[in-house]
């Protein structure tokens, strides 16, 4: 997926124990464009020419970028092919084997005569033989295809490669992400890495190492760590710290989402839709809730929360947080804060990290029923200021109300209604509806009063006593 740069092209600045990748930016736009043009101009020409032309672009300051750009570009959208063997019958390997069998030669005369013989054998001329001999060498290959790519995209791809290459020499990778935990966590497992979690300023940091890291400083896991990077920077908010060993010195490299624009756009990273967060928003919206993603920092007293969602229903608002990495202590502290501040917050957490009271845990899929129950508990009680309230779903009712049809009705009111129905004993639907209208109620109450509407035709409903 990503072109990795060889060590000698690693373009970084080291200063007082810190290491800064020299990311390409607006100033390098021209250079990126020239590299792209060099390749485009070489369509149908030899790759060796591209190499020569690129060399001319290089100077002491930019040579790493020129070569880095070229490498990323080649990996991304350049195709090379052997000019022979594709559109001609001549196979370079066969041509040279034929020549070698008649070699070696030590004079021009001898050489000419071997070449002539070969030309006759392959039914072509000497010049073609000469060209075909090593036509499959990289320098002799012909650039056949260069895809469209903008300098901006090239720069972004290069920057990601540079960041990943920097992490190659990493001893320990520490990071935080606001979302996309599932993919990150899976990647860590799949790559055989180990992790430890710890809390810093209210955030759960993940520290990634390998099995042998406690025993020796090793860069063996750097390659695997580099592979996690694209998943981390896919999140909305993230922070990465890498401890990098170079020439017997440990350098720190830190970077966070303020530099997001340096890297490829989301869709060029990995598809987004499968994420847990996306699914959550989709499901709740379908159930008639209004869902706001990443509503920002919620302050409550001296605490601050950064919930993932704000779920709204009528005037009620509940926050939901899906916790990626956690320890029981972390969750406990979080819940304690919630209790102290009275913030309506539902915490949903992966169960790989333990079990905790007051938290909805899950392994593969979020149990939406359970989550909805928790959300409803925290939604303010429907305002039962009136005697009759239209409700939907099952909510908790105040003790002096009953749920009938689509309404919450004060018990005393319902008794009055029943009495009135007995007294008037309506015979038609119109009569029944007239009484109901006085109370602000609709047809769905009728069965509880012992009546039923029966449709005889499309527009001739009859009222029947049960």
């Amino acid at each position: 997926m990503v072109a990795l740069l060889p060590k000698e092209l690693l373009d970084v600045r080291r200063y007082r124990g810190k290491l800064f990748p020299r990311f390409a930016g607006a100033d390098d736009y021209d250079l990126a464009e020239r590299v792209i043009k060099t390749f485009k101009a070489a369509r149908g020409k030899k790759y060796g020419m591209v190499l020569k032309a690129l060399r001319l672009l290089e100077n002491a300051k930019n040579f790493r970028k020129v070569r880095g750009f070229a490498r990323v570009l080649e990996n991304y959208c350049v195709e090379k092919a052997c000019a022979f063997g594709v559109d001609s019958e001549l196979d370079p390997v066969e041509v040279r084997m034929f020549l070698f069998e008649r070699g070696f030669v030590t004079s021009k005369k001898e050489r000419d005569s071997v070449l002539k013989y070969a030309a006759k054998y392959f039914n072509t001329d000497v010049e073609t033989i000469e060209r075909a001999m090593y036509a499959d060498r990289e320098e002799e290959l012909v650039v056949t295809r260069v895809d469209e790519i903008t300098p901006a995209t090239l720069i972004r791809l290069y920057n990601l490669s540079l960041l990943q290459t920097t992490v190659f020499s990493c001893l320990r990778l520490t990071f935080w992400t606001s979302s996309n935990h599932k993919e990150v966590f899976r990647a860590i497992k799949r790559l055989g890495l180990m992790y430890e979690l710890y809390e810093d300023a209210g955030r759960m940091l993940v520290e990634v190492t390998g099995a042998a890291s406690v025993l020796k400083m090793t860069r063996k896991y750097g390659t695997s760590m580099a592979k996690i990077i694209p998943y981390i920077i896919k999140a909305k908010n993230w922070w990465i710290k890498a401890e990098i060993l170079e020439n017997d010195r440990i350098y720190l490299m830190e970077i966070d989402d303020r530099h997001r624009d340096l890297f490829p756009e989301k869709e060029e990273r990995i598809e987004y839709d499968s994420s847990l967060e996306e699914e959550f928003a989709r499901k709740l919206t379908a159930l008639g809730y209004e869902v706001v993603r990443e509503p920002g920092v919620v302050k409550a007293g001296r605490f601050a929360f950064i919930p993932d969602f704000l779920v709204r229903k009528g005037k009620g608002e509940v926050y939901v947080e899906i916790v990626g990495f956690w320890t029981p202590e972390y969750i406990e502290r979080k819940l304690e804060k919630v209790r102290l501040t009275d913030i309506p917050l539902v915490v949903v957490a992966r169960e790989e990290f333990g079990r905790a009271e007051g938290v909805v845990t899950f392994s593969k899929r979020i149990p939406y029923n359970e989550v909805l129950r928790e959300i409803r508990k925290r939604l303010p009680k429907e305002s039962f200021e009136g005697e009759v309230v239209r409700i939907d779903g099952i909510g908790d009712l105040p003790p002096d109300y009953v749920k009938i049809g689509g309404y919450a009705i004060k018990k005393s009111v319902f008794e009055r209604l029943r009495a009135e129905f007995q007294r008037q004993d309506p015979k038609t639907v119109e009569e029944a509806r007239k009484i109901l209208a006085k109370y602000g109620l609709g047809d769905s109450v009728l069965p509880s009063l012992g009546y039923q509407i029966v449709w005889k035709g499309l527009d001739r409903p009859e009222l029947r006593k049960l």
């Binding site: 100077n59 002491a60 070696f104 025993l215």
Partner: protein, 450 residues
């Protein structure tokens, strides 16, 4: 509670109320952890101190009893006996002296799952062919092209490194061919992450320029037996002569060389640098990141070297030598691929570089063996492990300052064979250039009788 030992991704996890040497507490998994290669020490310790323990570390690939008889030469037998004393250690024998047979005899003695680690795919093929005397069905390879786990598995250093965590507890014996490769920062982890209690290293050149061979006693076991080419020449190895030919640059090359060399020298003098070692040189390379002058200096140095390495007169000299040895089997070595292809095109000699495909390489080598081709030109890849029994002339067009590379290139023509009288090694050196020093450096410490 009984202590338990388990293998976990290149490490040994120790649970239970015990203390063992080489282990550290790991808060991530709340246990003691040690690098896998300390397994033998840890078990020794537990046994000595009478601690009860359950050992689940080695999960070897089930293997048959290997039966094969080898007729070993006296020094090979001596080497084997020495190794069997502790079943650890490095064997230093010249190329062509049959190191492989010592290892195979060891495999036969141990008769348990064995991993052989070698530097190149060519060597993988050669080892597999030789090991097939144990029964072809028991031999597998673990490389970039195939991932098999068999009782005797041959792996490249690269694949063994990438999969070190996975391979570490599947073998009882681990053999490192060309063991001088092992102490690099990356490869050494093949040894560290392996729990194999028995280990053998093979090489013709134990010492490394960077001094890291000092790590070998800990990783594999120290040097247990050593012979130099001169110890075996004439009897077990072909007799040989070395001829050094100093070739002048052409007038034009000389001018270009001096111009380029001056830029580099001026930079070095101005910065007050002294170039005594590879590290000193590396410092200039590092400086190219912030110092434009360093970049220019380095580019000039590279240019100068290329002029010296690839001079026209060397090609003329090569022509002479080829004419002189029309009836011999010749190996030509260069430093750069460019020159390989130039020579190949000019003299119509088959080339082998790291870019050559496996099929073509096999075709070239087979052609050389059968006599269809009388010469091969190569950059570095031929240095190790390509079996070319009856080559008797080697021509070094250019090379690095490494003594190891030099010895191995020489080794290529020293395999004894019928009718081979005296092998000759030619070294072409551009006169009055830094190549003279480079050539001197590679001879020094090479242990080669000249």
């Amino acid at each position: 509670m009984k202590a338990t030992l388990e293998y976990d991704r290149g490490t040994i996890v120790i649970r239970g109320d015990v203390h063992v040497p080489h282990a550290k507490y790991d808060s991530r998994s709340r246990c003691l952890r040690a690098l896998a290669y300390k397994y033998r020490d840890i078990v020794d310790y537990l046994q000595r101190s009478g601690v009860e323990y359950e050992d689940n570390v080695i999960n070897p690939i089930p293997s048959p009893y290997f039966e094969a008889d080898f007729e070993l030469r006296d020094y090979q037998e001596q080497t084997l006996q020495r190794w069997l004393e502790d079943k650890r250690g490095c064997v230093v024998l010249p190329t062509g002296s049959g190191k492989t047979y010592v290892a195979m005899a060891a495999i036969s003695e141990v008769s348990a799952a064995t991993l052989v680690v070698v530097p190149t795919l060519d060597l993988v093929d050669q080892w597999k062919e030789k090991l097939s005397v144990f029964g072809e069905e028991w031999i597998g390879e673990f490389t970039g092209r195939k991932k098999e786990l068999k009782p005797i598995t041959v792996a490249t250093y690269d694949s063994a490194y990438v999969n070190a965590e996975r391979l570490g507890n599947r073998f009882v014996l681990i053999v490192f061919d060309e063991v001088h490769h092992l102490p690099s920062e990356a490869y050494m982890q093949i040894a560290e992450m392996s729990a194999a209690p028995y280990r053998m290293g093979l090489t013709a050149t134990y010492e490394r320029e960077d001094g890291r061979h000092e790590l070998l006693p800990d990783l594999v076991g120290g040097k247990i037996f050593e012979l130099k080419p001169s110890d075996l020449a004439g009897k077990h190895l072909a007799d040989y002569a070395i001829k050094r030919i100093y070739v002048p640059l052409t007038e034009e090359e000389k001018k270009a060389y001096e111009r380029a060399a001056r830029v580099f020298k001026e930079y070095v003098t101005k910065k007050g640098l002294k170039l005594r070692s590879v590290e000193d040189f590396h410092r200039i390379v590092m400086a190219t990141g912030y110092d434009e002058k360093a970049y220019e200096a380095l580019r000039s140095w590279d240019e100068a070297r290329k002029i010296a390495f690839n001079s026209k007169n060397k090609l003329r000299k090569l022509r002479e030598l080829l004419e002189r040895h029309k009836n011999d089997k010749i190996l030509i070595f260069t430093r750069h691929n460019d020159l390989v292809y130039r020579i190949s095109k000019l003299f119509l000699i088959p080339a082998i570089t790291y870019r050559t495909s496996k099929e073509e390489r096999a075709r070239v080598l087979e052609g050389f063996r059968s006599g269809k081709f009388r010469a091969i030109v190569s950059s570095q890849v031929l240095d190790e492990g390509i079996d070319v029994p009856d080559a008797n002339v080697a021509i070094i067009m250019s090379g690095s300052g490494s003594a190891r590379e030099y010895i191995q290139r020489l080794g290529r023509i020293l395999r004894p064979s019928k009718g081979k009288e005296r092998a000759i090694l030619y070294e072409l050196i551009s006169r009055e250039t830094s190549e003279v020093t480079t050539a001197r450096r590679r001879r020094k410490g090479g242990g080669v009788a000249t």
